[in-house]
Symmetry: C2
Subunit: 127 residues, 2 copies
C-alpha cells in the first residue's frame, strides 16, 4: 500500500546524499512545495530547492542518516540527522506523495533544549 | 493494517485533552517510555508521565489540536499544537505500539526560528 510512497522517500534521501541537489528533481512533482513552519518560509519548485541546498554554507559534503521512516498511504515521515562534519542538525520531514512524485514537504528542525529542574524527580538522563 | 495503532493514538490525544493525565494510562503499555532527544530526558511508566503532565505549570486547561496523523504498521507520527491559552507549543510525536498499548513515544518540540536573509531570493513568506 505505501510501497510506492516509501520507496520515493528512500530515493529522495539517497539523491540528497549524493550532494548533487539538482538530481533530487527526479522525485519531485512539478508542483513541489517545501514549507518550514518554524520560520514561515516556503520554497516552490525543484530549481529553487536545489539552489537553496547548493548555496547553504557548508564545511564539506552533507551526510544524511535516516533514523526512522514511517509511511502510511501517501504520507511518509522521516527523522534524519544531517551533518557536514562541523554543523549538525536533525530534520523531521512530512512528505506527501502523488503520482508524479513528492508534492509537499513540511519540515521541522528541533534544536537542543535544556532539561527542566522542576521535573528532574521524574526523569532519567539519556546517554 | 494500521487501524489498531492509529486508533490507540487518537485515543491517546483524546485522553490528553481531558486534562486527566492519569487516565492516559489506559493506552500505555506497562513498559511505556517517553524520550525527548532534544533535552536527553527519559520518563518511564504511566505514573511518572501523568505526574510530569499534571505538575507542568499551566495557565488553564491544555488544548490539543491534531494537525496530522501518519500511521504505518505499528508506528504512528502526529503533529500536534498545544496551548493553555497563554503558552503554545508544537509537538512532533513518534509512537511505537504493541499489543498492550503504547510502548515508546519519542517527541520533538520545534520552536520558532528566523528566516535567513541569504536564501530570501528563493523563498516566499507563509501567512
Amino acid at each position: 500500500m505505501s510501497t510506492h510512497a516509501t520507496s520515493i522517500v528512500h530515493e529522495f534521501w539517497r539523491l540528497m546524499a549524493s550532494n548533487d541537489f539538482h538530481s533530487v528533481a527526479r522525485v519531485l512533482a512539478p508542483e513541489f512545495v517545501l514549507e518550514w513552519p518554524q520560520s514561515g518560509e516556503r520554497i516552490r519548485g525543484a530549481e529553487r530547492f536545489a539552489c537553496m541546498n547548493s548555496e547553504y554554507p557548508a564545511h564539506g559534503p552533507w551526510r544524511f542518516t535516516v533514523n526512522r521512516l514511517v509511511g502510511g498511504g501517501n504520507e511518509v515521515v522521516t527523522d534524519v540527522e544531517i551533518s557536514d562534519g562541523v554543523q549538525t542538525a536533525r530534520a523531521i520531514s512530512f512528505f506527501t506523495i502523488g503520482d508524479a512524485g513528492i508534492l509537499r514537504l513540511v519540515e521541522f528542525w528541533p534544536e537542543p533544549m535544556p532539561a527542566l529542574a522542576n521535573r528532574a524527580h521524574l526523569v532519567e538522563r539519556m546517554p
